[in-house]
């Protein structure tokens, strides 16, 4: 599914990374704990998170997350946006709760972008 469709489903707006709206995504993971992202996220997944500081972007970059969507109406801080622009990582913001955001994307056929299997 294209990022632009995901944006519509989540009523999200793009904070940075308009050029990525045509990128295809199949997987989504959700976490507020960055160590869990580092441990369990699969490369290329979308990350839904409520953590808005720069660590969310560093984690996404290190774990090869393809796009970050901040939920619950949260906006990332300035440092996070600056680094995302530098690393060419798209950031979106959605007013939905984590549960609602995950539910909508799951219903549309997106798969889990995290795995606890070793």
């Amino acid at each position: 599914m294209k990022l632009t469709e995901i944006k519509e489903i989540l009523n999200a707006d793009v904070i940075t990374g308009d050029s990525h709206l045509g990128d295809e995504f199949e997987e989504v993971c959700s976490a507020d704990l960055m160590s869990d992202v580092l441990a369990f996220a699969t490369p290329g997944t979308i990350l839904l998170t409520g953590l808005t500081n720069v660590q969310s972007v560093i984690t996404a970059h290190v774990a090869e997350v393809g796009a970050v969507v901040y939920i619950r109406g949260k906006r990332p801080d300035e440092d996070a946006i600056k680094l995302a622009m530098q690393k060419n990582l798209p950031l979106l913001a959605s007013p939905l709760t984590m549960f609602e955001a995950c539910g909508r994307l799951y219903k549309q056929g997106l798969k889990s972008g995290s795995s606890t299997a070793k």
Binding site: L38, T59, V62
Partner: protein, 143 residues
């Protein structure tokens, strides 16, 4: 330079410097990517380095990271000065943590760091002197 060493660099990390936390690992990631390692290997090394760097920022006063790359392996050595770890076996358990609320606000400190480093390494060694500091030796095979 030693035989077969493609790259060597030493980085320093300041404890409690939360605003720069992660900068060493992102640099390590760029270096490894540029050398041309397989993306899977680069990702594993970057994750291990990042968790280790966060540990130094969160718990130590200061630390150094030595990145040594040969055609066969990526070696990341961390040495910090700080409180050290009293019980390494306990610290290695998933979920065990001594993190403060400030660390948790950053999305860390849930007791996943050391297990995460081990999971992404082919060789992992940790030694610590309580009250002095901790040493980590992380090796990721390049092929």
């Amino acid at each position: 330079m030693e035989d077969g060493v493609l790259f060597f660099q030493e980085f320093s990390i300041m404890g409690k410097d939360f605003s720069n936390a992660g900068s060493v690992s992102t640099e390590i990631k760029s270096i490894l990517k540029e050398i041309g390692f397989d993306p899977v290997i680069v990702r594993r090394a970057a994750i291990a380095a990042y968790e280790a760097e966060m540990n130094v920022v969160m718990y130590a006063d200061r630390g150094v990271v030595r990145l040594r790359v040969t055609p066969d392996k990526i070696s990341i050595e961390l040495e910090d000065e700080g409180q050290g770890i009293e019980d390494i076996e306990l610290a290695m358990q998933e979920g065990y943590s001594t993190a403060t609320p400030e660390m948790r606000e950053m999305g860390f400190g849930a007791g996943m760091g050391l297990p995460n480093i081990k999971r992404n390494s082919d060789h992992f060694e940790i030694t610590s002197q309580p009250g002095r500091g901790t040493k980590l030796n992380i090796v990721i095979k390049a092929r």
